[in-house]
Amino acid sequence: MIDLMTLKPGDRLLLQKGIVAEVTENMGDGQWVEAKLIEVPDSPGDAGAVELCHAQDIVKLLNRS
């Protein structure tokens, strides 16, 4: 389990469904980070979108900024 409080803008995440996203803001509530979608295998057109990512969506931390 990832402690969201440690995430910072620029950190890369692997989300469910193989989505890769980059943290753009951590509002520090321990549940959500804002992230820009980099790769969205099921819906490539969504790449570039900025969404809230919940802790349950995060599979693992790919790399720190």
Binding site: M27, D29, Q31, E51, L52, H54, A55, D57
Partner: protein, 453 residues
């Protein structure tokens, strides 16, 4: 389906022409459920003050009827009001009284809303909902209309309701006297504190009290004898300074159901010594009085006392000064919220003194409010019995002693203590309970005006 009480015809319970009103409307659970549906989902309700949410992200958790509502200023500075209930399973998305946030996250399943009410975050949105959940359709439930008037915030669930100022009608000029600066500038007030407390009474007792029920004055006799006003230590007893000792008092019923007790100062409109216990305040209020006269001219003769904006918002206009929302909890339980008002640019010493004076007068520990609550709660508890319910309350005081022949006051005016305002209030309550259209609710249909006309 509309809520319907066990009473075939609610109108029969309220006879404003003869002056009798059934106790059932103050104690019956079915009628109470029906008025939540027919009054509180339609009327404009006072929900807060801009000064409670000055910055983007500020929120204040308020109420409309029994329901929790979030009053919030979004990051663009726009004020919103939403039902405080997640669209997923209904959990409160905000459990704090006030604060600042960028999002509201439901504690149950973490659905998350931005400060403009939009559903923004849904855990596992792409894996469990295939990214297809309609977020717009699942935003927080917004009020149908919201109005900001001189800092006060009002809302209604009825999209067909008239604009707020239409709803307020001619009561506006009286409410203005409570909301405007003491020196006559428009608006400019701020809330310096809110008292919240629950008392075992029907909410309408409190609302009626501030319509202009001057008749209950004897119940404050002990407070008057002790003297809790701003000149008490200087020998002026009473609850307040008698600023209106030379004024013509007027009691006014408005067709929308509102009612006020105001006063008209004599032509010379001389300042009456006030705040004698505090030289700084004495000087400040004397200055404000003269400034108000200079600014408003003849209009400055109109002074506020108390009033109730239908259905559940009351105000004190001078000493003390503030707004109060009477939130229903049950037929026999009410939560009072007193919002104490001062001029935002008043000196700190003035604000501090007024805060203490307001608390001495009003709210759960206020000596005058305690008198009132004792009346309301015993009147409620003594009306729930089987026998008591058979006997209606009497509202026959000053029947017919009113006029509409006046130039500027609006409404039906009495110059003697009267229950005409209460009769007007319950006449309009009856219209709401009958599901009347807005012409009727505003008293514009020509049918629901006094039959005596």
């Amino acid at each position: 389906m509309a809520v319907k009480s066990r009473f075939d015809d609610v109108a029969k319970l309220v006879d404003t022409e003869q002056g009798f009103i059934s106790r059932e409307i103050f104690v019956d659970p079915d009628l109470y459920r029906e008025e939540l549906d027919k009054v509180f989902t339609r009327a404009w309700l006072f929900i807060g003050h801009e000064s409670l949410i000055p910055n983007p992200g500020d929120f204040y958790t308020t109420r409309m009827g029994e329901e929790s509502v979030i009053l919030c200023r979004d990051k663009a500075g726009i004020v919103h009001a939403f039902l405080n209930s997640c669209r997923h399973r209904g959990m409160k998305v905000c459990r704090y009284e006030q604060g600042n946030t960028s999002i509201f996250t439901c504690p149950y399943h973490s659905w998350t809303y931005t400060t403009d009410g939009k559903l923004q975050g849904v855990p596992q949105y792409r894996s469990l909902y295939d990214g297809n959940l309609d977020r717009d359709a699942n935003s927080l439930v917004s009020v149908a209309k919201l109005a900001i008037y001189k800092g006060t915030v009002w809302a209604t669930w009825d999209r067909n309701a008239p604009e707020f100022l239409t709803y307020l009608g001619d009561a506006k000029i009286h409410l203005d006297q409570a909301l405007d600066c003491r020196d006559g500038r428009e608006g400019g007030s701020e809330v310096i504190g809110v008292h919240k407390w629950v008392f075992p009474s029907n909410w309408k007792f409190a609302a009626e009290n501030f319509l202009g029920d001057t008749y209950h004055n004897p119940s404050h006799r002990s407070v008057d004898l002790i003297g809790i006003g701003p000149s008490a230590a200087s020998g002026k007893k009473g609850r307040r300074d008698n600023e209106l000792e030379h004024a013509q008092h007027v009691w006014i019923s408005f067709p929308e159901g509102h009612g006020v007790h105001s006063a008209i100062q004599p032509e010379n409109n001389e300042y009456v010594d006030s705040f004698l216990d505090q030289p700084v305040l004495e000087k400040y209020f004397r200055h404000c009085y003269e400034e108000r006269k200079r600014r408003l001219g003849e209009q400055a003769r109109l002074m506020p006392f108390v009033g109730t904006i239908f259905p559940n918002t009351s105000y004190h206009g001078r000493q003390p000064r503030g707004l109060c929302a009477w939130h229903p909890h049950s037929p026999t339980s009410t939560e009072g919220w007193r919002f104490f008002l001062v001029d935002a640019d008043a000196p700190k010493e003035v604000k501090d003194y007024l805060r203490r004076y307001y608390m001495r007068y009003s709210g759960p520990a206020g000596m005058t409010e305690q008198d009132d609550m004792e009346n309301w709660l015993y009147a409620t508890s003594a009306s729930v019995g089987t026998v008591a319910r058979r006997y209606p309350f009497n509202y026959q005081q000053s029947l017919g002693a009113w006029t509409r022949e006046h130039a500027t006051l609006g409404g039906t005016v009495s110059v003697q203590v009267t229950e005409e305002i209460a009769r007007g209030y319950y006449r309009r309550w009856k219209s709401y309970m009958g599901g009347g259209g807005w012409d009727e609710l505003l008293g514009k249909d020509g049918v629901t005006q006094r039959a005596a006309e």
